[in-house]
Symmetry: C2
Subunit: 217 residues, 2 copies
């Protein structure tokens, strides 16, 4: 049976971006379904989509009829099912270090800058645009400094040595998101250098927000 893969994504969603990179890196063909997180009060809240994913979030992947949410779970799943060009190494300690790095983004920075949280700051604390930007900027510098320290121990061409790993998927997508907030990367030379390397790769170009069918300026 030929694999059938559908990805529910929003071009600007950083977590969707990670999964797009993984799919393109592994050369896995997939159908792209756009879910606009702002239009119509957020299409992720529509009944059809919530029937698929009660969490009402993208990315959401369907592989041969089996659904899965959460970018990290999706990427580990893809890595198990399509083991060409592994994104997590087999060595348990190295694998865990890659996961540790991904989690600094996945459970560290990203949850604090997602749309729902910024909306909540607005509704509960009447946060202005400037205050929201300052919230996002402060958290980014807090966590980017940790990422830079980790990378100084492990990076060569990419986050972990000379081969692309899941860490590069997470880093590329995150750094893309910092551009919206004009967050300076001047203090993070290793992050900058790695991003230059990965953003030259075909998979990373294909996965970029501006190359998605639902891209808007």
């Amino acid at each position: 049976m030929q694999d059938s893969i559908t990805l529910y994504s929003y071009f600007r969603s950083s977590a969707s971006h990670r999964v797009r990179i993984a799919l393109h890196y592994k050369n896995i063909p997939f159908t792209y379904k756009a879910v606009h997180l702002l239009k119509d009060g957020g299409q992720q809240h529509q009944a059809d989509f919530k029937k698929l994913n009660p969490q009402a979030q993208v990315p959401y992947l369907i592989h041969n009829g089996k659904g899965l949410g959460q970018s990290l779970a999706i990427i580990q799943y893809l890595d198990a099912i399509f083991p060409n060009k592994k994104l997590f190494t087999e060595d348990p300690y190295q694998r865990a270090k890659i996961l540790q790095f991904c989690e600094v983004i996945n459970s560290g920075i990203q949850p604090l800058q997602n749309l729902m949280v910024l909306k909540k700051l607005e509704s509960q604390f009447n946060a202005s645009i400037e205050q929201k930007n300052s919230w996002v900027t402060d958290w980014n510098h807090h966590y980017l400094a940790s990422l830079e320290k980790y990378l100084n121990e492990t990076a060569q061409d990419f986050c972990f040595g000379k081969t692309v790993t899941a860490a590069d998927c997470f880093l590329a997508a995150h750094v893309q998101s910092t551009k919206r907030y004009n967050i300076s990367l001047n203090s993070y030379p290793t992050i900058q250098r790695i991003c230059e390397n990965i953003n030259r790769l075909d998979a990373f170009i294909k996965a970029a927000p501006e190359n998605q069918p639902d891209f808007e300026k």
Copy 2:
């Protein structure tokens, strides 16, 4: 060589709690080192600890001299190195569903209620205790409702069927944290039922905050 394991933990840290459950569940002997997150301006910021873990967070595990942070990375690592009583199954899809569940807690609720974030709400928005409680309570209900829906599809005695998995480690630790905020679980009968089951198990009792050497009322 006999394995040497040290866990840096704080009795009240929910992420540390998950790792303690995993260690006790697998009957892995370990040395407990307490890091008080409030005393002395936060012992996690002291130079000695930050040399170990630049992220200045617990849990932090050292296994035969090799250090690792992030609860999910630690638990997947322990599961690979000590494969007795697996917390993640081998089947890739089931494994990914367990991870998806853990991530709703790990990258969903928990980052929004951690100490650093509550402090930031205070410093940036002058949030009162009541406002911080309401922030935590609102996020909990948002995510607990998702967890309950997921569990209605997968739970039997435990989160995934009749065997303890990583999902139970994450759920037990999270539900423990809801007690501090008096969050009602009345709308989540499946979560309540599973917690009754898991909290009877020896490993979960040993890992509970009140049974740690650094416990304080």
